[in-house]
């Protein structure tokens, strides 16, 4: 028999916090309603759906493991440590675990609180990280003007020659590896931002609804045409489109990266720019924004000035596919005889449980043949800014996605999130595939346009 003393000796080193890492006291996790944490029954059903667990087979890299750590912290058995911080940023936030969870655990909410604690305690702070976060989260993504100015610079780089020169001469070799890998992920910035493409109010001949259109920030820079297409599709389906000018970032990227206060401020800005009472719905065409915008009610629930409006807002926000399916999609008169496959953006499928409606949109197009993509719900690795912060894991997921796309032999992939689109574009370019990445709504808009010009 093992004696107590022997057991004690074996256990003696256990429970000591990692002495090498920085530590801090939790604030958000300790305040989190305990029932949210406790809801996890650690059954493990999330394990096979988690891309990071699948890769490493280590409990820590699974939703169940991460929740266990959060719970240890909430219970005061563990501090917020550097290793905890690294772990929670190794998570993609794809929310596949929420789909698999039998007990309705709100993992996304817990992840946001955990990351808020990581930022609040500063366990991951270093000079470069601080600088990057200040420039992006604190500066670029809090002001549409700054973001557009940056967009203009990128446009100049891409459109006036330097980019092709850099690529031809392989000048990126001169950059450190980290930056070199980022270059292909740079969005193709458009000359026209959304405001130049869509009037503040556009009214169809036979108006039945009035909707607000969210133009997004990355969408506005890199895919402003998708916004125009969205407006066209809405008009074709009898919706008047109200598009406030120079919209702010909705704050989705901030909540997902632990900046709760900034996210709240941006949510208030967004609420202020729409006259909710006058609108039947507020429509977004970006999956990542949609998931966040629907939770604004929750985010601002303790803000007496905004709580009621935020709750109403969450009720009215619709993903574009969801909205169209709700009001009925007008079938275009012209066809697009084309095979198309559909990639599920995590924040549509897992975040908003929207998977039927985008297929309805695609199938409404005469002649279009929808070919199902193997593992269509497996994350592509974009995950907001994950492909920048965790390039290695992101690259593995991208390769897997591209291999699946290649097996379909289909030349068009429909994807409904700007992050996924950029990631997939970089992936097909690297693999030398002749595959186009388009938004499902752009295909529908094209079909309507084909009918008009016929």
């Amino acid at each position: 028999m093992v004696t107590d003393e022997e057991l004690h000796r074996a256990a003696i080193e256990i429970g000591r916090a990692n002495p090498e890492g920085r530590q801090g006291a939790a604030k958000y996790l300790r305040r989190l309603d305990y029932s949210v944490l406790q809801q996890c029954i650690h059954c493990g059903m999330c394990l096979p759906t988690c891309p990071t667990y699948e890769e490493t087979k280590l409990e820590r890299n699974s939703p169940r493991g991460r929740i266990a750590l959060m719970r240890r912290i909430a219970d005061g058995h563990l501090e917020v440590t550097q290793a905890f911080g690294q772990e929670l940023y190794f998570c993609l936030g794809c929310l596949a675990c929420e789909t698999a969870c039998p007990a309705d655990v709100h993992y996304g909410e817990m992840l946001e609180q955990a990351r808020a604690d990581i930022e609040q305690t500063g366990v991951l702070r270093n000079l470069v990280r601080d600088l990057v976060r200040a420039l992006t989260l604190g500066w670029m993504f809090t002001s549409p003007r700054v973001l557009r100015a940056v967009g203009r610079l990128i446009w100049l780089y891409q459109a006036t020659g330097p980019e092709s020169l850099v690529r031809q001469l392989k000048l990126t070799r001169l950059l450190p590896k980290r930056l070199r890998d980022l270059e292909p992920l740079m969005p193709r910035v458009q000359w026209h931002f959304t405001d130049g493409l869509i009037e503040p109010v556009e009214t169809p001949a036979n108006q039945k609804y009035r909707v607000g259109l969210l133009t997004g920030c990355v969408q506005d820079l890199a895919f402003s045409q998708v916004n125009r297409d969205t407006a066209d599709v809405l008009l074709a389906n009898d919706c008047e489109v109200v598009t406030p000018r120079a919209q702010f970032c909705c704050g989705s990227i901030h909540t997902h990266n632990g900046e709760v206060d900034l996210a709240k401020a941006l949510a208030r800005r967004t609420l202020d720019s729409f006259d909710l009472e006058q609108l039947d719905a507020v429509v977004t065409n970006a999956a990542g924004c949609g998931t966040h915008l629907k939770s604004v009610g929750h985010l601002l629930q303790d803000d007496p000035a905004f709580a009621a409006r935020a709750a109403k807002w969450s009720e009215k926000v619709r993903d574009i596919h969801e909205w169209l399916a709700e009001i009925g999609i007008r079938e275009p008169a012209a066809s697009i005889p084309q095979k198309v496959t559909y990639h599920e953006a995590c924040h549509l499928y897992h975040g908003q449980k929207i998977n039927r409606q985008p297929r309805q949109v695609l199938k409404a197009i005469p002649g279009l043949e929808l070919v199902e993509l193997p593992e269509s719900v497996w994350c592509c690795g974009s995950a907001g800014i994950y492909n920048i912060t965790q390039p290695e894991m992101a690259q593995k997921l991208l390769r897997r996605k591209i291999e699946n796309i290649a097996t379909t032999m289909v030349p068009v992939v429909a994807a409904a999130n700007p992050g996924c689109s950029m990631q997939l574009q970089a992936g097909v370019r690297e693999a030398n595939l002749k595959v186009k990445i388009v938004h499902p709504i752009s295909l529908l808009a094209q079909a309507y346009r084909n009918a008009e010009t016929r």
Binding site: M1, V2, E6, L7, H8, R9, A10, A11, I12, E13, I14, G15, R16, A17, N18, Y34, S35, Q38, Q39, I41, H42, C43, G44, M45, L47, P48, K57, L58, E59, R60, S62, R64, G65, R66, A68, L69, R72, H77, L78, T81, A83, F84, E87, P102, A103, D104
Partner: protein, 457 residues
């Protein structure tokens, strides 16, 4: 880094030796509510030889070893003994052979059960045991716990499909037990000792499984009963009529209410029970048996019987049963899933007793489960932060186990004893039986290093 971690790191490398608190905390539990224990070290071996090395080291230093797969157990069997070495076998996941001539599959113990089922299906075969966690659980864990599932009545449990095992003994020796022969009486059936031994006698590293031909047809029925007794009598009558369905599953009223609140299936909420019945096999036989079961159900007081005419309809009928656990799990912060089991003939009495006990202790208990084999899942919807309620849960469980034993049943049909049922085992099996188990344990693990303190002290 402590000494044990240093030694094990030399053996397996830093990547597969985990000792930091942020790792250990995530291996502190399995699928059982409220249990936690912190290991001293977690290792992830890739071969039987590595397992043997670790066990040998543990034996020399008298350190407890707790084996685990995906940690989905429901009795705390793989919850770490404080300071132990956890042997996590999920990285031992190679499929060694699928033998079409002998209908066997040979795999390492970390292979996920679902994978075995899929490989069998691709070969036109069937691996029948289908525990609720099969998408996650490992086959080694299934063997160590002798897992059941929904098809137990007709096809039996994991034990019935194990033909051979590779096991690492407490001294680190690797032995191979069993073979591909259907008949084999060479001495004691030693492999059977390790099946259901919950990691207390040896570490299972390879498993040879028997597969069966895939049934060609399947038919699904759903019957509604205003009285639980009528449902139980229907089950008895079906079996008395010599029909052995592959599935006979029921949901009680509370479970139905939870399912309907969650999924809005339009279940008959004023009914006391619904019974899901499935038969599989030769198409002609399946058709005949389905008609027979429908008739028996009607004759025994079913208020409605639906028979699926297509695969989609079948999926609709099974939806409520598939969602039962999820629907219950989301109601309250803590969900405790039990598995008291009684002979079929005592089912109605047992279910009534569970309902009375829940009322007596003012608890919410939803019951569903495998009516065909008497395996019930009374599910306590509670909150572990509420000490008073947890005390009542303890009392209610004790009453339920006592009653199950009184009716000739068992305190655990398929989850195992582990830590959760340890206190109830002596009363359930008796002193002589328990002493025999202890003797066996002492013989195979004289230093008590393999999962000490599980099943019994």
């Amino acid at each position: 880094m402590h000494k044990i971690a240093e030694d094990l790191t030399r053996m397996l490398g830093a990547e597969r030796t985990l000792w930091e608190p942020e790792h250990l905390a995530t291996y502190g539990f399995d699928g059982t509510a409220t249990l936690y224990g912190q290991a001293g070290c977690v290792v992830l071996p890739k071969t039987g030889t590595e397992v043997s090395q670790v066990v040998r080291y543990a034996a020399q230093n008298r350190i407890p070893v707790v084996a685990r797969g995906s940690g989905t157990g429901l009795s705390g069997g793989s919850v770490p003994v404080p300071g132990c070495i956890v042997l996590c076998l999920v990285q031992m996941d190679r499929v060694l052979e699928l033998d079409h001539k002998n209908l066997t599959i040979h795999v390492e113990s970390g292979v996920v059960t679902q994978k075995v089922a899929e490989l069998a299906e691709a070969a036109g075969l069937l691996y029948p045991p289908d525990p609720g966690s099969m998408k996650v659980s490992t086959i080694g864990g299934n063997v160590a716990e002798n897992s059941g599932g929904l098809r137990g009545l007709k096809y039996g449990v994991t034990r019935d499909y194990v033909m051979g095992l590779e096991v690492v003994l407490a001294n680190g020796e690797i032995i191979s037990l069993g073979n591909k022969c259907v008949k084999d009486v060479e001495g004691y059936s030693m492999k059977d000792i390790f099946i259901g031994s919950e990691g207390t006698l040896g570490i299972i590293t390879k498993v040879l499984l028997q597969l069966v031909p895939r049934p060609r047809a399947r038919k699904t029925l759903l019957a509604t009963f205003s009285q639980m007794d009528a449902a139980a009598e229907t089950v008895s009558a079906i079996i008395a009529a010599k029909v052995i369905p592959c599935t006979l599953e029921f949901l009680d009223q509370i479970t139905m209410k939870c399912v309907d609140e969650y999924a809005h299936l339009g279940l008959p909420l004023n009914a006391e029970a619904i019974l899901l019945m499935e038969t599989d096999g030769h198409p002609a036989v399946v058709e005949e048996e389905a008609q027979q079961m429908a008739e028996i159900a009607r004759n025994h007081g079913a208020t409605a019987v639906q028979m699926a005419q297509s695969a989609e309809e079948a999926a609709q009928l099974t939806a409520a049963r598939r969602m039962a656990f999820s629907a219950l799990a989301r109601v309250s912060p803590t969900t405790i899933l039990e598995d008291a089991t009684v002979p079929r003939s005592e089912l109605a009495s047992m279910i009534r007793f569970i309902q009375q006990t829940a009322a007596k202790y003012a608890l919410t208990v939803g019951t569903f489960g495998h009516m065909g084999d008497g395996n019930l899942h009374p599910t306590f919807l509670t909150n572990e932060k509420d000490a008073a309620e947890m005390a009542r849960v303890e009392k209610a469980m004790e009453d339920i186990f006592d009653h199950a034993v009184k009716l000739g049943g068992t305190i655990t049909g398929e989850h195992g004893v582990g830590l959760a049922k340890k206190a109830f085992l002596p009363k359930a099996v008796g002193t002589a039986s328990l002493e025999l188990m202890r003797q066996l344990k002492r013989t195979l693990d004289p230093d008590n290093i393999l999962n000490p303190g599980k099943i019994f002290d």
